[in-house]
């Protein structure tokens, strides 16, 4: 009789951590998409109904979460480009993949700071 091992796990290294984060951010974006379509579906029931739903999404907390959404989109998008380049370019390399990962992360953080600051500014003015 063969047994199955109690746990399947492997050492956490940067490539693995980013893969897990990519999956999680993908789930987050899929959740957002469903919410987005649900909100838009109220358009079919007339303007008043749509306005009523939209008003609940105008709260500062939701607006703050939108900045988080920007972060998810930036991470998933830019890291996705990195993955495509890794598939079709010479970037899948034990010595250098962490470097490309660092460049991707710097790009994500810079764009997030610029976009997030602008979003925060509009939030504070209104």
């Amino acid at each position: 009789m063969k047994a199955y091992q109690p746990k399947r796990h492997y050492r956490w290294h940067p490539g693995f951590v980013v893969w897990v984060l990519h999956r999680l951010s993908g789930l987050g974006l899929a959740g957002y998409l469903i919410l987005h379509i649900w909100v838009l579906s109220h358009l079919m029931r007339g303007e008043a109904e749509f306005k009523r739903v939209m008003d609940t999404f105008e709260s500062p907390l939701i607006r703050l979460m939108e900045i988080g959404l920007l972060g998810l989109v930036l991470f998933h998008g830019l890291n996705g480009i990195r993955i495509v380049l890794m598939d079709y370019g010479p970037m899948a390399n034990k010595e250098s993949y962490v470097k490309y990962l660092a460049v991707t992360f710097i790009a994500i953080v810079v764009l997030f700071l610029i976009g997030g600051a602008a979003m925060l500014q509009t939030l504070l003015i209104n």
Binding site: K2, A3, D87
Partner: protein, 234 residues
């Protein structure tokens, strides 16, 4: 010269219901001792019931791939001095256990043979040897060295999740023949791969390049296969 503690996963299918860990003390008797030397010391002097695979003891046969301190390595070329203690030794992750550190590699090997790991030559065969230019020969570097130890495939989360996924090792070996200028079987090999259990199950997690004890790059080989499939389509 001191002692090192080995924590080894034990499982005897005739006695145990599930695996457990057992500690052993290994004496460091000379500099440069490998993990395999420690396992041999345990088996030969302390506990003859410990089961593990070994053969060439110099990193060529691929028999003693083990999960050592959470990383897949070959026991015979891993220096004890480089490891944190206690040294935790487990069988390759995700593979069904047969006994102690021995795992069932049938599925892994079936997948290797599925990829037709032999040269499919041009017909009619030449009278003498098939020549290859030095440039074409160089394309095989980093591919032909695979020793089929299963370190890469057993480290791959896609391989754990999908029992039908061929895995990094089989895919590297397919790429080895697809890029070979003497081989004409590229099309029939690529046909095997163009579905969700083929190359597209690779999510570039990079565990395989971290794991390979020969320093090969299965992710890049799979990337080559993906490119070949895409360019065949367009």
């Amino acid at each position: 010269m001191g002692k090192v503690t080995f924590t080894i996963l034990r499982f005897d299918p005739e006695k145990d219901k599930k695996p457990h860990y057992q500690d052993y003390e290994v004496e460091i008797r000379r500099p440069g001792m490998m993990v395999l030397d420690g396992l041999n010391q345990i088996r030969w002097e302390q506990d003859g019931t410990l089961a593990y695979r070994r053969s060439c003891r110099e990193g060529v046969c691929g028999s003693d791939a083990l999960n050592i301190n959470g990383v897949n390595r070959l026991g015979c070329i891993t220096h004890l001095e480089d490891l944190k203690t206690p040294v935790v030794i487990q069988p390759l992750p995700s593979m069904p256990l047969i006994k102690d550190l021995i795992v069932d590699l049938n599925d892994f090997q079936d997948k290797f043979f599925l990829c037709k790991p032999f040269l499919i030559p041009k017909k009619p065969l030449p009278d003498l040897e098939q020549l290859q230019s030095p440039e074409d020969r160089r394309k095989l570097d980093g591919l032909y060295e695979c020793i089929l130890c299963a370190s890469c495939s057993s480290s791959c989360p896609s391989y754990w999740a999908d029992p039908e996924y061929l895995g990094p090792s089989a895919l590297l070996n397919i790429w080895r023949f697809v890029v070979d200028s003497r081989d004409v079987g590229a099309d029939e090999r690529l046909q095997l791969l163009n579905d969700r259990h083929g190359v597209w199950r690779c999510h570039t997690i990079l565990n395989c390049i971290e794991a390979c004890p020969k320093g090969l790059n299965p992710t890049q080989a799979i990337g080559g296969l993906k490119k070949a499939l895409v360019s065949a389509k367009f």
